[in-house]
Every structure is written in C-alpha cells, then in structure tokens.
C-alpha cells in the first residue's frame, strides 16, 4: 500500500507540474495551450542532448557538450522556455483578439507541428535516458522507496510552491493576476499585457520542461510522442483542480496519479484500464463539483 501511494505521488507530481502550466496560461489567456505536452518533450530532449557526449540529431552525428547533470537540466529548462516563448510570439500573439476557437485550433496545430519537428530531430523511436545516480532504493514501513520518486515529489512541491508565491507576492505576479482578471482593465492600468502573457508562457514552459525532464529520468526514455498522454492527463488534472488555480492544478495532478496507481493495484484488470478509471474519476468529480476541487464558480458573462 505504501509503495503504491509513493509511486502515485511521484507520477502525480509530474502531472501536477504540467497541470500548473496549463492552468496559469488558461488563467491569463482563457485558452488551452495543447503545446505544453511538446514543451515537456523538448525539455526532456534538451537535458538529454546537453548531457550526452555524442548523439544523433536529424540523422546526423552531433557531438554533445557532455555537461554535468545539473547543468544539463538547466539547459533543458532553457530549451523549454525558448520553445514556449516562440510558440506564444509566433502562433498566439497575432491571434490575441481572435475568437477563442481560432486559438484552440492553432494550439492543436502547434502541438502537432512541434511533435513532427521532434520526430524529425530525434527520430520516431524512443531514445534511452541514463538513470541518474541517486543511490540505492531504501525500505520504509516494508515499502521499497526509489530515491527518484522522493526527488520528483519534492521538486514538484517546491517548484509549484515557488511559482504560487511568485504569482501571489511579486509585482509581476500581481500583473499576471490582474491580466487574468480583466485584460482590458489591466491594460488601462498601465500593465504591459503582451509582456505579461509572454512571461506567463515562459514560466509555464519552464514548469512543463521540468516535468518532462523528471519524467524522462524516471522512466529512462525520451521520445517525440512522450508528451501526448501526460499532457492529456495534466489537462484533466488542471480541470479537475479548478482550472486557473495553481494549488488546484497540483492537487488535481496528485489525484490523477494516485487514482491511476490505486486502480492498477486494486481493481481487477486495473493495469490495463488505469486511464479509463482515471478519466472516469474526472467525470465523477466534475459532476459533483463542476468548478473543480479548488476552483471558484465562474460567472458566465453574457
């Protein structure tokens, strides 16, 4: 039981980080940026390539810088931030006043385009990611705990906490919240709305890239399509937690992660149907609480 819970918290922590990305961008733009699943992927590849001595990019040999692990993770985060910024500038900014449906379609297109770019650069098959050396697994209460799970959960909590504090207590955070509440009023108050939106994208992308790096280290691979399913689940987590709320998104991620693992462990044939069960829980929770776990009821402006 303990083991299942620890595993669920680690998986949930990754979903939580990615869910925070979806949630904050939804907050300021009112749209779902599907491309975070691909930022997740580019973050993982950024760290992988930066840590490798030699690798292949677009079929050609490429001498990697073979950076130490911590520096490679930094590079991965920067790559994720750049991809996020470019997506916002090139794809979404021209559509700032377009109907929400146009943005949604664009988001889907961007996501597919980035996945195709990933396939072109890194191939269609999975690339192995060496496991980080974090020492041996240890036993607590009869459960075998993997150090990486502890690291993932801690990093996820700290990063989400830091992000939440940034939005809550800093001037840029205040600007983000103002933009989220009412973009036009924020502009009238002298807030550079475009800059705020770009900043939100960059910060969200860093969270998504971090999630991707942790994911690739835990499961030992990176692949062009790796962000799709986690992205879907993180989106579910964000909605579940009350989209727009940072703590809500993270809690939503944990709920999805734990549900999945508990389903795999205790429901007969659960391992094969874990996704069905996790998404079923979403439907159930939203039926009971349409605004999500920590969300506030939105008043539709007509």
């Amino acid at each position: 039981m303990t083991q299942v819970l620890i595993n669920g918290l680690a998986v949930g922590g990754i979903y939580g980080l990615l869910a925070v990305s979806f949630s904050v961008v939804y907050g300021v733009l009112g749209m779902v940026n599907f491309a975070f699943g691909e930022v997740f992927m580019f973050g993982a590849f950024g760290a992988l390539v930066a840590a490798a001595a030699n690798t292949q990019i677009a079929g050609a040999d490429f001498a990697g810088p073979a950076l130490p692990q911590w520096a490679a993770i930094g590079i991965g985060l920067v790559v994720g931030a750049i991809v996020g910024l470019l997506v916002e500038r090139i794809a979404y900014k021209p559509l700032r006043n377009a109907p929400i449906l146009s943005m949604l379609i664009t988001a889907i297109a961007v996501s597919m385009l980035l996945r195709a770019v990933g396939t072109f650069l890194f191939g269609a098959s999975q690339s192995p990611v060496p496991a980080p050396d974090l020492g041996e697994a240890f036993e607590v209460l009869g459960a075998r705990i993997q150090p990486i799970d502890i690291v993932i959960f801690s990093v996820a909590i700290v990063a989400t906490g830091a992000f939440w504090a940034l939005v809550k207590f800093t001037p840029i955070g205040r600007a983000i919240r103002a933009t989220a509440q009412d973009r036009d009023a924020a502009r009238l108050m002298g807030i550079g709305v475009d800059k705020v939106i770009s900043t939100t994208f960059v910060l969200g992308s860093v969270m998504a890239a971090l999630a991707g790096i942790l994911y690739s280290q835990k499961y030992g691979f990176a692949a062009a399509g790796m962000g799709f399913i986690p992205g879907l689940k993180a989106l579910v987590a964000a909605v579940l937690g009350g989209i727009g709320s940072i703590p809500g998104a993270f809690v939503g991620g944990l709920v999805i992660g734990l549900t999945e693992e508990l389903a795999a462990a205790y429901v007969p044939e659960g391992a094969a149907y874990r996704d069905v069960i996790a998404f079923g829980v979403l439907v159930l929770i939203l039926w009971l609480r349409p605004q999500g776990i920590l969300g506030r009821r939105e008043v539709q402006k007509v």
């Binding site: 889907i108 191939g123 999975q126 075998r144 691979f221 094969a272």
Partner: protein, 384 residues
Amino acid sequence: MIRRTTTAASLAAVAALSLTLAACSSSASSDSGSGDAEGEIALGYTATLTGDFASYGLEMREGVDLAVEELNDGGGIDGRQVKIVSADDEGSPANGPVVAQQFCDDTAIAAVLGYSFSSVALSALPVYDSCGLPIVASAVTSPELTGASDVFFRDVFTDAYQGAEMGTHVADGGVEKVAVLYQQDDYGQGVAEAFSTAFEEAGGEVTSSQAYQLGAVDFGTIVNTALADDPEAIFIGGFYTEAAKIATQLRSSGSELPIYGTDGAVSPDLVSLGGDAVEGMTVYSAFSAAAGTDASSAFIDAFTAKFDKEPSSWAALAYDATMVVAEAITEAGSTDRAAVAEALASIDGFGGVTGDITFDDGGDRLGELIFLQVDGGEFVAAAE
C-alpha cells in the same frame, strides 16, 4: 478528445506484425509481365512494397532474390531458370484479390511468395482456391490463416505456436511459478494465452496474469503485484519498448528474477533502452543472424556479400520459402499447380536456414524456435 495519437509511430515497425493496417496511399508498382519465356519457371511475389510498412516486403524480397540467384547459378530447377513476377499490394486488403487474380491468370506462375499482412492474404485466398495456385507466405502470423485454404502454407511460426514453445521451454528449465505480463492486444493476448496454457500443461503454475497497454511507461504497481505471489520468473508478452521498461522497473524494485520475453522484444532497442536490466533476458525468434547455426552460416555469408548487411529474419524466412517451393517443384516433377501444392503439403523436415521445415494440416509450420539470451548487450543463442 480532439487530437489523435501518433505515439505508436515508433512501434509501427513491430505493430505491423500484429497486422494492423494503416491506410497506405501510394501508387501501384508492378513489374509484372507474363513469364511465358520458354522453359522459365515463374514465381509470384507480392507484399507491401511502398508506404510506411514497406520494409518487411523489401527485406523479404532480398531473401527471395538471393534464393533465386543461387537456384539459377546452380542450373535452375530441373534445368529451368527461375524468375520472379512482382506485384505491390500496397498493404490494402482490397488489392489482395486483384493481385491474386493477376497471378492466377498468368499460367507460367507455379507458386506465390511474400505477403506482409495477414488481412491482405486472407482476402486473396478465395481467388487462389479457385485456381489452385499454392502460396508459401513468410511474414503473416494471424491465427485466422490456419487451415483457411488447402493451398496456403507459411514458414513463419504463428504467435500461438511460439508462445506455447516458450511455455514448454521455461517449464523444462525447471521454473515452476511464473508471473505473466502482456500487452493488451491480439499479439500480447495470443502469446500470453498460448504460453500460459503450455506452461501449465507442463506442470507449472501461472501465479498472476496482468495486461498493460501498448505505450504504457509506469509498471511499478503491476510489477509489485506480480512479485507479491513469489514467482520464480517473469514472462513478458509484448514489444521491446514496454519490455525494457518492465525489466528496468523490476530490477529497481530489487528483484533478480529471470525474465522471459517474445519475438516482439527482439530488437537492438531492447538493449539500448533496458541496459543492464535486460541482461540475461531470454527471448525467442525464428532466425537470428547473431546466433548463427551451421545451417545458416553459409546463407548469412552469402547475404552479407550481396547486400552488405546482416539478413533480417524476414529475409531468411523468405529465402527458405523460395527454397521450399523449389524443392516442391522438383518433387512434383512439374509446375502443375495441384502437383506443387500436393508436394508442399508433404514437405517433411526440409533443412532451411531457419531450421527444419514441415507444414501441418493447417498449412502452419512445425519446427524449433531459436532461443536467444541478452549477453553483454548482444542477442546470443541461449545456453541450454
């Protein structure tokens, strides 16, 4: 959900084995022409030669070409030269009957080789039945083809046959309790069921049997469940991407149990993704260039000399299929289709590069699998 996944793209290669079909939009290419040249024996060759799943068809063709070259260099079959009439089925079941009719109408053709997809072969069978033209396929493994036609034979083992052989092999190795994990699709279910049945018949006990989805990455929980009943070994009925992760997560949970896999796990990527965790893992295959036997070494040398690469198992099976047909024509003493089909049915213990070949009443191959083991990052013949 709005978006469609393409995550399976990396697995497309192996997925083709489980006979999923993608819509291939590619132009037909066929160098067909009637093989009426006096004295020449024509063999039909059809497979998916264009599109995403072309690699099997092209690799099979290499095996066929090598066999034809060797036959002709050795004076042909009964002194008659052999030529190939090729047609692309584009991976589409709708093209199955079209190609079959084309071969049926070409009276010079004595037998047909190839087929990438079971669905295409299935759709073509009624036409072959009507003209009595025998087929020796070398890549299609669907159980639906078993006994589907009197003129259909295949020298590739079915998934069920291979799974059962593995079950017996594991039981013979002294293992009494196995936990089974399998991919939830026709392929995984088929091999896992056959494995479990054979293993239990041999006196073993399957402690648990759990399905997982293709593309799953987290096996921590199902590995725990599998280990809870104290099995002596783990059997994985699935492809290399998941097998590598299961092995990794099994080892990091502290278990040193032996791992058994299937032909779906035979890929260099198993080792690159699984690393030390897959070391010692046992899998099976119909053919392996790395684990060459006496029978196959001459073939491997000749193939490498001609194509400058190691033969795949598809090339080897197609080579054998061609040689089996040549043997049957020699036995029959003519290219009469009915006589060739009869000779094929009575092939018994033909020594191929993939081992001895015999067909059972359903046209399926009987014979011995090669068991391979990962040793130092390479697949080598498993120690008995």
